[in-house]
């Protein structure tokens, strides 16, 4: 590397030093890390809340807290995890950091807007969190703010709702920025069909962010208006329809699941070819499936409402469409496994994470079919089965991909390599803990334990004890992973520049990258997954 003399983006001195240098940066890599630090802190807060909830549920009856505290806790757990961690998630951190590099660009299309998105994110987060301490007590509606309860409860719903609105704005601006970047800043020679799959998934995600987020934005504003101004939209007492609220809420919040999972799938689609030393199987199919998930995913929201009194024809339409959306998801899993076939697989840490992802994502996906079909959903709706399902998808999917991305790109981001043995051990513990924590919930749900409750009947005790123990194991694994990554050793040369023999553009530059990534804009002459050693 002849450009070693250039300071990398971590050392680079702009107009301001130290912390101010970070807070005023327009460098996409630094913004990616700003997101990373803030999001990961929120994740730890959310995880702590989860652990406390599990501890409360270790036995029937009151253990640690009052019922109202529990309600506030699970609302905050949902709000932090959904709005502050998984929705910005992989896209805001790794998308920001790697999208421009993968395209051969120096930055995103609108760097200042990018920084503004982060500030809006922080502002939204602060508003959401302040709702816990201000007004008439923390919101107890759950993260869904269902009307009419959210209109009637005395707690501080307006602040939480407004915070979510600001977060949505941040999300829209990020999506807008990424789409424009992909349209305008691809390096010469990088046609649409030479973009890495991760970029493609961000493209699909960007469209959902732009087109779905405003719907929840306006809905939340209506909730705020109804509470503050006393006008009527959803209150049945004045002719409003609470089911309409659910329609509007899920018109965003179901696509939001794809905002979370698509970039996660993109990460997996990067890792698997690198460690199989093979071009990804079915590149075009993967692109089409991403776009199909984004598109069909927009029309399946009603499957959250099968038991809420929606009409019969809507129910089967939404059930049918939900099954359709399983097809592109399955196409992806088949393509990943087909990429493994006859590859020369390297069993390294990121690869194990990708395998873990596929395993838990499959369980999450199949259980999704159970609740996507009308007849079975009637039985398991609002039980722990659903809780297990969405933790397998949201945490198992996005969370695993997030950690996979951390282990895959850590050397590139920091120029430091972690201890792979400890990482593998940590993963094994984390993975076991994850399954011990969430799998019993499937069984509890099938046996009829309702979700969201503070208390349960004694016959559900066994499953809950196992689940709580699982949460301790998982948190142990998590701590090992974090400490291991934090203690990664500084290295130079190939050990961090290109430890996995990757083929996408980020592995062709030094680690950590320089301020402008590329000294000269590269010209692309081939596809993203062409390995020399094949």
């Amino acid at each position: 590397m002849e450009n070693k003399h250039l300071p990398n983006y971590l050392e680079y001195q702009g107009k301001y030093k130290g912390l101010m240098g970070w807070l005023t940066t327009t460098d996409h890599k630094r913004i990616g890390l700003l997101y990373f630090y803030s999001m990961f802190s929120f994740f730890l807060v959310g995880a702590t809340l989860g652990i406390l909830m599990r501890l409360e549920l270790i036995a029937p009856g009151k253990q640690l807290m009052e019922a109202q505290t529990y309600n506030a806790l699970f609302t905050l757990h949902g709000l932090t995890m959904i709005f502050l961690f998984v929705i910005p998630g992989v896209a805001a951190v790794f998308g920001n950091f790697f999208l421009p590099i993968m395209l051969g660009a120096k930055d995103v299309a609108f760097p200042k807007l990018n920084l503004l998105s982060w500030y809006l994110y922080i502002l939204g987060a602060l508003i959401v969190l302040s709702s816990q301490f201000m007004g008439d007590g923390p919101p107890d509606t759950g993260w869904t703010f269902y009307a009419p309860y959210s209109l009637k409860t005395q707690t501080n719903v307006v602040a939480a709702v407004f915070g979510a609105f600001v977060l949505g704005f941040s999300s829209i601006l990020t999506g807008l920025n990424f789409i424009t970047t992909m349209h305008r800043l691809r390096a010469p020679g990088m046609g649409w069909k030479r973009m890495p799959i991760f970029a493609w998934t961000l493209y699909a995600t960007g469209w959902i962010q732009i087109l779905a987020t405003p719907i929840v934005g306006i809905t939340l504003l209506m909730i705020a208006a109804e509470r503050l101004l006393g006008i009527g939209f959803f209150d049945p007492a004045i002719g409003g329809d609470p089911i309409l609220y659910q329609h509007l809420f899920w018109t965003y919040s179901h696509p939001a699941v794809y905002i979370m999972i698509l970039p996660a799938m993109g990460v997996i689609s990067e890792i698997i070819p690198t460690f199989s030393r093979k071009p990804i199987f079915g590149y075009t199919a993967l692109i089409i499936s991403s776009m199909a998930i984004a598109f069909v995913g927009y029309f399946v929201w009603g499957h959250h409402m099968f038991t809420s009194g929606m009409s019969d024809s809507s129910r089967w339409i939404f059930s049918f469409l939900s099954f359709i959306v399983a097809i592109p998801s399955a196409v992806k899993v088949f393509n990943w496994t087909a990429t493994l076939y006859k590859g020369s697989i390297r069993l390294q840490t990121p690869f194990w994470w990708a395998m873990g992802f596929i395993f838990v994502f499959m369980i999450g996906g199949f259980s999704g079919l159970v609740i996507g079909s009308l007849a079975t959903d009637i039985h398991v709706h609002d039980t722990y089965f659903v809780v297990a399902h969405f933790h397998y998808i949201v945490f198992g999917g996005t969370g695993f991909a997030f950690f996979a991305a951390m282990h895959y790109w850590w050397p590139k981001i920091y120029g430091r390599m972690y201890n792979t043995k400890i990482a593998n051990v940590g993963l094994a513990i984390f993975f076991s803990g994850f399954n011990i924590l969430y799998f019993p919930m499937f069984i509890l749900g099938l046996r009829g334990m309702p979700r969201r409750y503070y208390d349960y009947l004694p016959q559900f005790t066994d499953g809950n004890v196992i689940s709580t123990i699982g949460s301790w194991i998982m948190i142990t694994g998590l701590l090992i992973l974090i400490v291991n990554l934090a203690k990664a050793k500084k290295m130079t040369g190939k050990a961090v520049d290109d430890p996995w023999d990757g083929s996408t553009l980020e592995w062709k530059i030094q680690s950590p990258p320089t301020l402008e990534n590329f000294e000269e804009i590269p010209v692309i002459t081939g596809g993203p997954y062409e390995y020399k050693d094949r």
Partner: protein
């Protein structure tokens, strides 16, 4: 970045479109003053869609810009129509 050829619309074009838009507005008002029940809702919305199309194509320049903007806009409008349609299906069935 290559420079795209710029199409400049003349003042007269804009004035002509404006004339048509105002004419359509007056027609809508006229139609809806007559009692035609369901038909006048349909007519008013049809004319509104027509006006919107004119604004999009000429004032917002979609007709002359790169095609990608036009394609995106059409897809977004279809999406909005589809979402409204699917939601309304539920209500037609229930009420």
């Amino acid at each position: 970045m290559s420079k795209e050829p710029n199409h400049i619309s003349g003042y007269k074009d804009h004035l002509m479109i404006l004339g048509v838009l105002i004419l359509l507005t007056i027609i809508t008002v006229a139609i809806t003053q007559v009692e035609l029940t369901a038909l006048n809702t349909a007519a008013a919305l049809f004319i509104a869609a027509l006006k919107a199309t004119l604004v999009l194509l000429y004032f917002m320049h979609l007709k002359f810009d790169q095609k990608v903007f036009l394609i995106m806009t059409v897809l977004v409008l279809i999406l909005i129509a589809a979402v409204i349609g699917i939601t309304v299906i539920d209500y037609i069935d229930r009420y």
